[in-house]
């Protein structure tokens, strides 16, 4: 984590120059990539994360299962429901909680809304990196309607602490259902416009077609997940593979693309949003009546045991490995975040590319430094 932006000639070859990209680069964001360049080509790249490491896993060992809720959503504020979703599933499994159906549906609604909020941010910045300024203004603006949607349910705009062990924190107000359905209808039309202005745009195609191609075999070997895996022909989606929280009640499909390039990764995010809108609409329409949470108390008794729970977050598979020794606090809590799973793909893709392609490839992986560092 040396802060100085070095630029020195490597002793072994006069042609190779090593440069730092980040951690202050406006696009990299708390993250550095060390690059070894031969002229305009990247010979070798080495990611250097850790600038925003806060020790969330150690913090969790000092707090009980309910106190852990608010700080565990901090690593992924764009996608804060999905990181708590996996945590809640893990604790529910340890405690053998049977979540009321209405609570399960509300968990799904909130987590799909967060998927849209996170993917919109991703498309906004990806558009900006490709020199397509319309995308950042449109996506950032439209994203706000989904933040409003989440605010009506969770009461906050970014970190809601809405999904908790035992269910969800509060019920959905009736007007939020009506307004939410309107948001869904409006957003379907907006996505058609994104397709016209961004995904069918010849400039965007020229900028991202064939840039950073990840083959299917490499995606498996490197452990890629989420959009990165699905854009490379891997049909992996925890929601379908291992339906949790009533996902089997909803009709949606896993979109798999085979190009494996930056364009496919961005398009895969749009297809994911289309499915998310479908799921939200179905869940709002057939929301069953009943309680939304179990009464657990401020310090629930968690029996000794071990659990590995996972969900499909906006960036890919979010997993928790929790070991409980029967005490009020977790003995060990490991967060397996999708950004950490996709990080190994970055040096693989950057080898041999032009310097100008680095932002498109880097952001194409939808890597979030804060999430990786925890």
């Amino acid at each position: 984590m040396t802060m100085a932006a070095q630029s020195e000639y490597s002793p072994d070859s006069e042609r190779i120059m090593s440069v730092s990209l980040g951690p202050q680069h406006p696009g990299a964001g708390h993250f550095r990539i060390r690059l070894w360049l031969d002229g305009d080509y990247v010979v070798r790249a080495e990611p250097d994360p850790g600038y925003v490491h806060r020790g969330e896993e150690k913090m969790a060992e000092y707090r009980n299962y309910i106190q852990n809720v608010p700080h565990l959503e901090r690593p992924v504020i764009l996608d804060s429901s999905n990181i708590l979703f996996a945590y809640s599933l893990a604790v529910d499994e340890l405690m053998n909680n049977k979540i009321p159906i209405r609570g399960q549906y509300l968990r799904v609604i909130m987590s799909e809304a967060n998927r849209i909020i996170s993917d919109m941010y991703y498309l906004a910045i990806q558009g900006y990196f490709m020199g397509h300024t319309t995308m950042i203004t449109w996506c950032m603006g439209d994203r706000d309607f989904w933040i409003d949607f989440a605010e009506r349910i969770g009461g906050a705009r970014v970190t809601y602490a809405y999904i908790i062990p035992g269910g969800v924190r509060n019920d959905i107000p009736a007007f939020a259902i009506e307004k939410g359905l309107k948001t869904c209808d409006w957003f379907d039309k907006r996505m058609d416009e994104y397709e016209k202005i961004f995904f069918s745009n010849p400039m965007v195609h020229q900028r991202s077609d064939g840039v950073g191609v990840l083959s299917r075999d490499d995606a498996i070997a490197l452990g890629a997940t989420g959009n990165v895996a699905r854009a490379s022909g891997l049909s992996l989606d925890v929601r379908k593979d291992e339906p949790y929280s009533s996902y089997e009640d909803f009709e949606f499909k896993v979109n798999v693309l085979n190009q494996g390039d930056s364009w496919a990764r961005a398009y895969s995010a749009l297809l994911d949003m289309r499915e998310a809108v479908k799921i939200i609409r179905q869940a709002l329409k057939k929301l069953p009546l009943g309680p939304v949470r179990l009464k657990l108390g401020p310090q629930p008794r968690v029996p000794a045991g071990e659990v590995y729970a996972r969900t499909e977050a906006a960036r890919g598979e979010m997993s928790y490995h929790i070991i409980s020794d029967g005490s009020p606090r977790p003995y060990r809590l490991k967060i397996g975040v999708p950004s950490a799973k996709n990080l190994r793909v970055l040096p693989h893709l950057l080898r041999g590319v032009h310097v100008a392609d680095i932002p498109v490839i880097y952001w194409g992986l939808n890597y979030w430094p804060v999430e990786n560092d925890r």
Binding site: M1, T2, P49, G50, H53, G55, E57, K58, M59, Y62, E93, I220, A221, L222, G223, A224, L234, S235, L236, D241, E242, E306, V307, Y308, R310, E317, S319, H321, I323, Y331, R332, K334, G336, A340, K341, L343, R344, D373, R374
Partner: protein, 131 residues
């Protein structure tokens, strides 16, 4: 652990063999994460590899390979040649729990500062500042 999860415990000397068999014969080729636990009362450290599968029909299955090593000399073989994606996960387990992955190409700090000269922070005898 629940259905479709299986945790296998083995000695560090056998883990590569078992991992290769699981990858090539059983189709567990997609590394999910690597985790570690400090069992301070038993004076042991545990390393867990959580591996999923891209084979149709068994994507919901997670196989965990677990090995226990002595706390004062925690040396295990690296499994990068089995699951390439384990590289950064192992590096993180090295810095957080002080496990030495033999054959790993780069065990420099990933998340911790370069000048960290305390115990590995996820060991139970490391106490966070202010606690």
């Amino acid at each position: 652990m629940k259905e479709r999860r299986l945790k296998l415990s083995m000695t560090p000397s056998r883990i590569r063999e078992v991992g290769l068999f699981a990858r090539d014969t059983l189709g567990f080729d997609h590394i999910s994460t690597v985790s570690g636990v400090d069992w301070i009362a038993k004076n042991q450290l545990e390393v867990d590899y959580f591996v999923g599968s891209s084979t149709p029909g068994q994507e919901d299955f997670i196989l965990a390979f677990s090995e226990l090593v002595a706390r004062d000399n925690p040396v295990v073989p690296t499994l990068i040649d089995v699951w390439k994606g384990a590289e950064y996960h192992e590096r993180e387990t090295h810095e957080m729990l002080g496990i030495n992955f033999q054959g790993h190409p780069n065990q420099n700090h990933l998340l911790l500062p370069e000048d960290w000269n305390d115990l590995p922070p996820l060991r139970k005898d490391y106490v966070s500042p202010g606690r």
